[in-house]
Amino acid sequence: MDSTTKTTEQAAVDGAGLETREMMLNIGPAHPAMHGIVRLVTKLEGETIKDVDVEIGYLHRGFEKMSENVDYNGVIPYTDRLNYVSPIINNVGYCMSVEKLIGISVPERCQYVRVILSEISRVSDHLTCVGATAMELGAFTVFLYLIKAREFLWELIESVVGARLTVTYCRVGGVKSDLPDGFSERCHAAFAETRQAISESRGLVERNRIFTDRMEGTGVLSEEDAIAYGITGPFLRASGATYDVRKDCPYAVYDRIDFDIPVGSTGDNMDRFLVRVEEMEQSMRIVEQALVDLPPGPIMADPETGRAIPAAEMVDLAKVGDIPAIAGGCAVAGPTLEGTGRADKASISTDEKRVTLPPKEDAYGNIEGLMRQFKLVMMGHGVRPPQGEVYFPVEGANGELGFYVVSDGSGSAYRVRVRPPCFAIMSALPKLLKGDMIADIIPTFGAVNMIGGELDR
C-alpha cells in the first residue's frame, strides 16, 4: 500500500500541475483472457496497474446445493463440471471422500486405475493451462500443439470412460469400468506424442527472449505469502514450497510410486510455467510406473469367464426362469458398458454390496442382482453412509481439491463442500497484479489457471 501511495505522490510531483487521472478498466466478464467468467476491475495509471478488484461468481452453478438433493452417486456428474479440464480428479476426490465416510476401501487395481486416469487428466489440465497462457501471449501455435497433445490424452480417456470431458467415471466404491485391452500401448503412444508436442512448444518459447521477458519477474509471490493465502498446487510449488497432497498425505497408491515434486525458486510466472511443464513429465512418469505395477485384473488372470451371452438374450432367458442356460455365462451388454461385467467388477469396485451396482451378469441373470440393482437406484434406498462428516483432499491439477461431506445417514448428503484450489489463488490475484503492467495480467492470470467451474461451484 505504501509503495502505491508513494508513486502517486511522485507522479503528482513529476506531473507538475498536469492533471492525471486514474483510468478504470473493467477486464471481463466478457474478455478473451478471462476464460471462464470473472471480472477484474482495474485502476490503471497509464499501463501500470494500481489496484485490482477481482469479482467472481458469474458462473455459479449451485453445485453444493444440488449435491444435497441427489443421491451420492448422482453428485458425480456434477463434479465433472467443477474443474472441467481435469474432471477425473474431481470424480476421484469426491468418491474417495464418500468412501472414507462409509469406511470402505476399493481394490488395488481400482486405485491404480484411478491414479492413472488422474495423472492423465493432470497432464491434460497442465497442457491446457500452459497452452492457453502461451496463446494469450500471442504464441497461438504453441497452444495448438499442446491442445493437439491433449487431444491424444482425451482419446485415451474416451477409450476408458466413454466420454472426453464429462467423464462421470468414478463411482462410490469403485470406478465404472475396467481399462480396455491395449490401453497400455495406446497410452505409451499418446505420451510419445505429448512429449513431442511439449518439446516443440518448449523450443518455440522457453528460451525465446520475448517469452522469458514476459514471464520472468511478473506476478511474483513469495513462499510465505503463498502459504498465507492458502494457495496449493503448482502455484505454491513455483514459490518454493514443496507441499503436494500426493506426497504429504498420500492417497490411493501414490506412496508406492516414485516421482519428483518440481518446485520453483522465485515464484514468478516463469517458475509456474516450468513447474507445470515438469509436472507433466512427472505425471507421465507416474502413469508409466502405474501401468507396470497395475495388478492384473481377473480378466487377465482367468480367461475362463464363461460363455458370452448377449445381454438381451440373458434377460429374456432369466425372465422365463431358464437360469441353467445362462448360469456362469458372461453378459455381453452394449459397448458403453464394456468393462463392467463380473470379471472386471471385482477388481474395480469394492465388494460391498450395499454400495456398488452388481455386475451385469447378476443384474440381468438373477433375482438377487436385480434386487440389488433396484435397491441402489431407487430414491431413498441407495448408498447410505453412516452419520458423520469427512474431509478428503486430493491433489487436483490446480492444487489441493478437498471435499467435505456431511452425512445425516440418509440417501443423500446433508452437506457437500468443495475446497476448490482456484479460489485461494484468485484471492491472491490483486497482490500478484498490483504494480505490474496491464499486459502482465495475461501471463499471471494464465498461470492461475482459473477454472470458473470450481471457483464458483
Binding site: 422365463v320 426362469g321 431358464d322 437360469i323 448360469a327 450395499r354 438373477n366 436385480l370 435397491k375 430414491m379
Partner: protein, 543 residues
C-alpha cells in the same frame, strides 16, 4: 413377567409375548414375512430365525414365547447365515420381475436382501413357472410366481373377513396361492391383502403401472369415506405429472390405529378418492346477469367485492347449508363468521339415505364429520331443514343463501333448485367439485378439499383426528376459513377473525366449545383424541 436378554439387552415382557414382539420393544427388528401382529401366527416363512442360548437349533422368533432368562441373539454369525439361507430359498423360484413389479421399492424381499441377505447367488436351476397377472378380484391382481407362500392373505380372508377365498394348493415347489374354485376376491376389505403381501404377489389393480412407489410422498391423514375415520397414509406425486394420469393422489393405504381401524380399511374408502383430482372446481365463477344462467370466470377479488356488501346488508336474512363432509374448522368458521357475525341460519345437510354399514369398519353415515358438526352445535335436527331454508329463499324471506359442498338438486330436487336460481335470492355455492347445483349458483367459490388443507374430522366414536395437507389447493381454490375471514374483514365486521393457520382455528374451537376443551392441533398428533361429550354420539361400535 419373564425377563429375557436379546442381543445383550434385557427386557421384561408380559407372559405369552413372543420373542419377535419382545425384540420390537427393544427396537430390534427381526425380519419376517408370515408373521403379522393382526393375524394368527403361522411360522412358515422361517425368516425370523434367531439364536437362542442352549437351543441346539435356531428358533423362529415369531412363534417362540419369551421365557424367563432366555438369551436371544439376532445378530450372531449363525443367525445371519440362517436368515441368508432362508432368503436364498425364498428367492430361488422368484422371477426377475422387479422391473415390472409394482412392489419394487416397498418389497420386503428387496429390503431384506440388502439388509440381511447379501449372499452371492448360487441358484442355477430352472425356475418354476406359474401364472402371472391373474385377476383375483375387482381390486387385486395376483402373480403366483412372485408369491413366497407366507399365507398372510389366506389368514386374512380366513380370520378377518371370514370369507375364505384364498388357499394354497399343491405341494413343494409347485405350491401356489390361488382362489378356491368359483370364488372371487370381492369382499369389501379385499385390498387389505395387498398391504399384507410382503412381496409383489398381490398388487392393486388401480395402482398397476401408474407410478413407482419411490416417487410417492406420503402424508398421514384420515379417510373421509364414512364416519369411521380410518387412519390413512396418502401417497401422492406432484412432480411427475405424466404418471398416474396427472392425478396427484395416487393411492391410499391404511395406517395403524389401535382404537379405530387397526391395520385395515375398506375398499370403498381406499378407492373413493378419485374426486379429489376429477371434476374439481378450479376458478371463481359468476353468473353474467340475473336473467341468464350463463356463468363466466371471475376472480376472488371480484367475488369478495360483490359478496361482502351483500353479507353486511344481510342482517339475519341469510341462510347457510353446510355439509358434514367439511372439516371441523370449516364448519366452525362458517358458524363463527356467517352465523355469529351475520346472523345466518345454518342447516347441516342430513345423512344421505341408502348408506350401508357393517359390523366391522364401514359405517352407514358416509359423511365423515357429522359428529363434529353436532359438537359445534350445528345440529341437523329438523329432517327437512334444508328444504325449508330453500323454500324461504324462494319465497323471498332470505336475501342470500350459501351452500357449502352439498348438491341441492339431490337434497331438494331439481325443480326447487332451479326456482331458487331464478329467484331474487343471492345463491352462492362454495365447494370443491362440480355437480348439478353448481351451474345454477350466482357465485361459485372453489374451496380446498381436506387433503389440500389441514383440518380435523370427528369420527363416530367422537375421536378428533387430523386430516393431513398433502399438496397445495388446485388452481384458484382456497381454504374455506380463509375465504370467510377475508369476507368478514371486507364487510367491515369489527371483530372479524383473522386465523391464518388451521392450528389457530382449532385453538379458537377449543376455547369456545366444551367438547374440544384442552385440545390443541399439535397435541392431537397422529392418534387423535376423544372429544369430551355428554351427548350420545351416533350409534357406533368399536371394531
Amino acid at each position: 413377567m419373564p425377563e429375557l436378554t436379546i442381543d445383550g439387552r434385557k427386557v421384561s415382557v408380559p407372559d405369552g409375548t413372543t420373542v419377535i414382539e419382545a425384540a420390537e420393544q427393544l427396537g430390534i427388528f427381526i425380519p419376517r414375512y408370515c408373521y403379522h401382529p393382526g393375524l394368527s401366527t403361522a411360522g412358515n416363512c422361517r425368516m425370523c430365525m434367531v439364536d437362542v442360548e442352549n437351543s441346539p437349533k435356531p428358533q423362529i422368533a415369531c412363534n417362540l414365547p419369551a421365557t424367563e432368562g432366555m438369551v436371544v441373539e439376532t445378530e450372531s454369525e449363525q443367525a445371519r447365515k440362517d436368515r441368508a439361507a432362508v432368503l436364498e430359498f425364498l428367492l430361488a423360484n422368484h422371477p426377475l420381475d422387479c422391473p415390472v413389479c409394482d412392489q419394487a421399492g416397498e418389497c420386503d424381499l428387496q429390503n431384506y436382501y440388502m439388509n440381511f441377505g447379501l449372499y452371492d447367488p448360487r441358484f442355477s436351476e430352472q425356475k418354476v413357472k406359474k401364472e402371472k397377472a391373474v385377476e383375483v378380484g375387482p381390486h387385486v391382481m395376483l402373480d403366483q410366481e412372485r408369491c413366497i407362500l407366507c399365507s398372510r392373505c389366506v389368514r386374512f380372508t380366513d380370520e378377518i373377513t371370514k370369507t375364505g377365498e384364498f388357499g394354497i394348493f399343491n405341494r413343494g415347489d409347485r405350491a401356489e396361492l390361488g382362489l378356491y374354485p368359483g370364488e372371487t376376491l370381492d369382499n369389501p376389505y379385499s385390498a387389505n391383502v395387498v398391504d399384507l403381501c410382503p412381496v409383489g404377489a398381490l398388487t392393486e389393480r388401480s395402482f398397476r403401472f401408474k407410478a413407482r412407489v419411490w416417487y410417492l410422498s406420503s402424508t398421514k391423514s384420515v379417510c373421509g369415506g364414512c364416519s369411521r375415520g380410518c387412519n390413512t397414509d396418502l401417497h401422492h406425486v406432484t412432480d411427475r405429472p405424466h404418471l398416474n394420469d396427472a392425478e396427484r393422489l395416487v393411492r391410499v393405504k391404511p395406517r395403524f390405529h389401535a382404537q379405530v381401524n387397526e391395520w385395515w380399511m375398506c375398499d370403498e374408502g381406499r378407492y373413493g378418492h378419485g374426486w379429489i383430482d376429477r371434476d374439481r372446481l378450479g376458478e371463481v365463477r359468476r353468473r353474467t346477469d340475473e336473467a341468464s344462467r350463463r356463468q363466466v370466470e371471475s376472480d376472488w377479488d371480484a367475488a369478495e367485492n360483490a359478496l361482502a356488501p351483500a353479507l353486511a346488508a344481510a342482517n339475519g336474512r341469510l341462510g347457510v347449508v353446510v355439509s358434514a363432509t367439511q372439516t371441523t374448522e370449516e364448519l366452525f368458521s362458517v358458524r363463527e363468521v356467517l352465523g355469529e357475525r351475520f346472523g345466518a341460519r345454518i342447516v347441516v345437510a342430513p345423512q344421505a339415505p341408502g348408506g350401508k354399514g357393517d359390523d366391522f369398519l364401514i359405517q352407514a353415515d358416509k359423511a365423515p364429520n357429522r359428529a363434529g358438526a353436532r359438537l359445534l352445535g350445528l345440529s341437523d335436527a329438523p329432517a327437512d331443514g334444508v328444504e325449508s331454508l330453500v323454500d324461504a329463499a324462494i319465497a323471498g324471506e332470505l336475501d342470500s343463501l350459501w351452500v357449502f359442498g352439498e348438491d341441492l338438486v339431490e337434497l331438494v330436487g331439481a325443480e326447487k333448485t332451479r326456482s331458487l336460481a331464478l329467484s331474487d335470492c343471492l345463491f352462492v355455492y362454495a365447494g370443491t367439485n362440480d355437480n348439478p347445483t353448481v351451474s345454477l349458483a350466482r357465485w361459485v367459490l372453489p374451496t380446498a378439499v381436506p387433503v389440500e388443507a389441514d383440518g380435523t374430522f370427528v369420527n363416530c366414536d367422537g375421536r378428533v383426528q387430523r386430516v393431513g395437507r398433502a399438496f397445495a389447493p388446485l388452481a384458484q381454490a382456497r381454504e374455506c376459513q380463509r375465504v370467510l375471514c377475508e369476507l368478514a374483514s371486507r364487510a367491515g365486521v369489527a371483530d372479524a377473525p383473522s386465523w391464518s393457520t388451521t392450528a389457530e382455528v382449532f385453538a379458537a374451537i377449543a376455547k369456545s366449545t366444551d367438547a374440544f376443551a384442552g385440545m390443541s392441533f399439535e397435541s392431537l398428533g397422529e392418534q387423535g383424541a376423544l372429544a369430551a361429550s355428554r351427548e350420545p354420539l351416533a350409534e357406533a361400535g368399536t371394531p
